[in-house]
């Protein structure tokens, strides 16, 4: 049977079916891509990306909205199953489900920062995160956006300690001068707490989509209850060198503001 026509259908439909020629198959692939709103077939670099936290989170959302098609999905996702079944509790929160109901598109973004930079002594423990929001399809508006980072339980010297975790938007960068930052969200947590932390970065994401040159990334800092700045790793926050399924990422929920009209041929 061809890629598009199931051989079992051939007998019942009363239509004469045949295998598609290569050029016809390519043409059909092009048409389906066009329906999906894609100019070409994406070619992701997935050395370890398939098992990262972002695809797993998105799969969680997908399963939430695709209960009807559950049977179809299960067969295809054997490769994800072993990892996915170990995810407990689910990655997506109730708030995410609420955002999801209102969204036409959800997109996760991988952190593009590969190496730690040297910051000023005052901010030497800050961690930097960058996301590429420049390729959002036209007519999509951000309705909600979160930065998500996983926190492990800390059972060392900080056992009975609380941490103040702060997320900043980088607004200005000058060589040799202090970086300009804007505080977006904070969270106070016990050292023993464990799970995904969600920080609201909706306004910042909107700015980055509308004006990509303002996208200078985010910075994260951790302070103890007596105001000492510590390395986020000491507070149990998982960074680039942590497990793939606990990598920090960003997720944005979009609503269509313009109707996508396919070009007439």
């Amino acid at each position: 049977s061809s890629a598009l026509f199931d051989s079992s259908i051939e007998i019942h439909s009363g239509f004469i079916h045949r295998r598609l020629r290569t050029d016809e198959k390519r043409e059909m692939q092009r048409e389906i891509l066009s329906i999906l709103g894609l100019p070409h077939r994406p070619k992701p670099h997935l050395s370890s990306g398939k098992y990262n936290s972002a695809p797993l989170f998105m799969l969680d959302l997908y399963n939430t909205i695709s209960n009807e098609e559950k049977n179809e999905v299960e067969g295809f996702l054997d490769q994800y199953k072993s990892i996915f079944t170990t995810q407990s509790p689910p990655l997506a929160s109730l708030q995410d489900s609420a955002f999801l109901n209102d969204a036409d598109m959800v997109m996760s973004f991988v952190n593009l920062v590969e190496y730690d930079r040297e910051f000023s002594p005052r901010r030497r423990h800050h961690k930097e995160f960058k996301f590429n929001l420049s390729q959002i399809p036209e007519g999509e508006a951000v309705t909600a956006s979160e930065f998500r980072i996983y926190k492990d339980c800390v059972s060392n010297a900080f056992k009975n300690e609380t941490f103040l975790i702060s997320i900043y938007q980088v607004v200005q960068e000058h060589k040799g001068r202090e970086t300009g930052m804007f505080l977006l969200d904070t969270r106070t947590l016990w050292a023993t707490e464990e799970g995904w932390l969600e920080f609201d970065i909706t306004a910042t994401s909107n700015l980055w989509v509308m004006s990509p040159r303002h996208n200078l990334g985010l910075q994260l800092s951790v302070e103890t209850s007596n105001g000492n700045s510590i390395n986020p790793k000491e507070a149990g926050l998982i960074g680039r060198d942590g497990p793939h399924d606990k990598q920090p990422f960003m997720v944005a929920f979009f609503k269509v503001t313009k109707v996508h009209i396919r070009t007439t041929r």
Binding site: D6, I9, G14, I35, P44, S66, E72, F76, M107
Partner: protein, 139 residues
């Protein structure tokens, strides 16, 4: 206006293309009518067989389906026939050379969600409206 004989005939034709009669003898349609009547046909678009499993995470494919078959008189025996389809049939009967029969087309469409990677290995979950034919009818 249709002659009485024809009206009587149309009353006997009670089969609906969407639901095949359990007992073929109960239907006014003969076997060729059943084969050609406007109805929903199954067609599965497999992303896996298209060789797209490296970038489409889910679903494996979708039951796209399609509508095919003849929309011929009497249309009122057909489920979901529009008023326009009836008018179109009448005009076709009066001028078969120039006016085609009404079209067998979707009357009810459903959405699907697709989860896929983009070029930057970001993941997109998008809802696509009107992707799956749930019901067909004459337009």
């Amino acid at each position: 206006s249709a002659p009485n004989k024809r009206r009587q005939q149309s009353r006997n034709r009670s089969a609906q293309p969407q639901d095949m009669p359990r007992n073929p003898n109960m239907s006014g349609y003969n076997s060729s009518d059943q084969k050609t009547a406007c109805k929903k046909h199954e067609l599965y678009v497999s992303f896996g067989q298209l060789g797209w499993q490296d970038w489409i995470i889910a679903p494996e494919g979708y039951a796209a389906n399609y509508c095919a078959g003849e929309c011929s008189f009497p249309l009122n025996a057909h489920m979901n026939a529009t008023n326009h389809a009836i008018v179109q049939t009448l005009v076709h009967l009066m001028n078969p050379e120039n006016v085609p029969k009404p079209c067998c087309a979707p009357t009810k469409l459903n959405a699907i969600s697709v989860l896929y990677f983009d070029d930057n290995s970001n993941v997109i979950l998008k809802k696509y409206k009107n992707m799956v034919v749930r019901a067909c009818g004459c337009h």
